[in-house]
Structure formats: C-alpha cells, structure tokens
C-alpha cells in the first residue's frame, strides 16, 4: 500500500469516526423499529396510568375516582407518546 493510498484511507476513516453534532434519533433502517415502538407505547402508558391510579386509590381510600382520572391521563400520555415519536420520525 503506498503512502498516498494510506493517507486517503486514514482520512476516510477519520471522517467516519468524527462525532456528529446533532444525533439523529431515527434513521431509515430503524423505521420498522419505530413502528414496533409506537404500538406498545400507546398501550403501556394506559397500563401505567391505571396502575398509578389504583395504588393512589388504595393509599387515600378514594376508591373509584383516582383510578378513573389516571386512566384517562394515561390515555392522554399514550397518545402524546405516539405523537412525539411520529414527530421525531418526520424530522
């Protein structure tokens, strides 16, 4: 390998190793990953919200109310999760 050849290869390798200023969250290769991500995010936020409501209800003894409120807050959180990842994808 001549010295010139080596220099160009070194340059290419250095370019590759250069840290990127703004990390891109989604690349085209991981689009299918995002699809999987969104489907469960919607559900899991609802589940977590309901569990939090259930625990708080047991603490404060306000049986049906907090679980109802937190269920709907969980639904909102789930929708926001999906909207957020959709926005990230479009960027």
């Amino acid at each position: 390998m001549s010295e010139d050849q080596f220099k160009t290869r070194l340059k290419i390798a250095k370019n590759k190793a250069k840290p990127r200023k703004s990390p891109k969250n989604e690349k085209s290769s991981s689009n299918i990953g995002t699809a999987f991500k969104m489907s469960t995010e919607l559900v899991s936020a609802v589940v977590v919200g309901t569990i939090i409501g259930f625990i708080l209800d047991n603490w404060f003894g306000t049986k049906p109310w907090l679980i109802l409120i937190f269920f709907f807050v969980g639904v909102i959180a789930g929708i926001m999760n999906v909207v957020k990842s959709a926005k990230k994808m479009q960027r």
Partner: protein, 244 residues
Amino acid sequence: MAANPMYQFNVYRIGPEIKLGEIDISFTNASLFMVISSLAVLIIFNLGAKKKSLIPDKIQLLAELSYSFVSKMISDTAGSKAKPYFSFIFSLFMFVLFCNMFGMIPYSFTVTSHIIVTFTLAIFIFIAVTIIGFIKHGLGYLKLFVPSGVPIILLPLIVVIEIISYLSRPVSLSVRLFANMMAGHTMMKVFGGFVISLGIIGGWLPLSFSVALTGLEILVAFLQAYVFAILTCIYLNDALNLHH
C-alpha cells in the same frame, strides 16, 4: 402434552431444589438457557478477538461486524457522549439476540418469552438511565418533565402526563419484546399442531405457513433485539443530551 401450544413456555426445575429462605432459587430450564446464551456470547467473542489478523476469518469477521454495527447504532442514536456505555449496550444486545436465537432451535426454551425476564432487563435499564441523568444534570434532569412553552395553567396536568409517559418506558420496552417472542412461538406451535391434525392430505398448507413463519420469527428475533438496544440508546440519549 406437546399438543398444547403454551406447553413450550413451561419452566421446570433441573437438578436439586435450592431454597434461600422462602425464595426458590433452583436451577431451571430458563436459567440453563440464559447460561447457554451468555456462554455462547463469551466464547464467540473471545475467539473472535483472539487472532487479530488483518484478513479476518469467519468468526473474527462476525465479531468485528457486530462491533461496528452496535457502535454505529450508538453513535447514530445517542451521539458521541454515549460511547462510554458501549460495553453495556453491546452485551445487552448480544444477550437478547442470543436468547431469541437459541429459542428458535426446536425443543429449546425461549427465555425472552417470559415477561419477568424482559421486565428485569427493562427496569434495570430504566433505573440506570435515571441515575445517569441525575448524575449528569443534577436536579436539572427534572426539566425533562416540564416541556418548554406550556401555559402555566396546563402545567400540573402536563407534568403528570410526562411522568406517566416516563414511567411507561420500562413497561413498553419489556412488553414489546415479551409479546413478540411469545406470540410468534405460540403461532408456530399452533401451525405445527395443524400439520399433525390435518394429516397427509390437508397438512401441506399449514406446513408451508410454518416454514414461512420460521423465517419471519428469525427476523423478529433479530429485530426485537435491535429495537431493545436502540430504545436503550434513545433513553440514554434523553438522559445525556437533555433537550426537547
């Protein structure tokens, strides 16, 4: 016994019963397959890293390819600041991938098709990422829950929503892996059962489905390990580069 499609997820004890106080910590088939996959990862990468020849042989090529694959994934999703966490994400990815792939061997056991395994991994990542966030940003990490440009009246509601969506991360991370693996393996067993019950005349259609499903399952096994690792990177990115 074998006709039940859920039978493959049975956890049973291998060897003597070991008890730690009230807790049963006996060696099960699940532990066996975890040990097998971690040993396989260790052996393959030790062999791959041993030679360091300029022209790699197959096993070294495998090790180098997976190294550059994970390294590229981390720098793409979490930036250069996440480089110190490479070893953690790499071992996580390899462990999940090998568990999934060993599950594809007939008569083997899929560790990741149990929610407690995936949830343990996910809650560990969640706690680690939270601690990293607090170490890097101090109390400023709480700004993650307060998006900028929200009217002050809506703020309490938004903060509650953000906290719920933050807490839902380990759940969604673990449920995705577990559900995909369990559903896929159940489906394969169900179609396998169809082949037997329909016999030599009608059994060809479900058999062809089975073949296609096996291919799909191998794809899913890889993809879910990839998604698991990439989401860890994304959460790490949130903790390291705090922005909205």
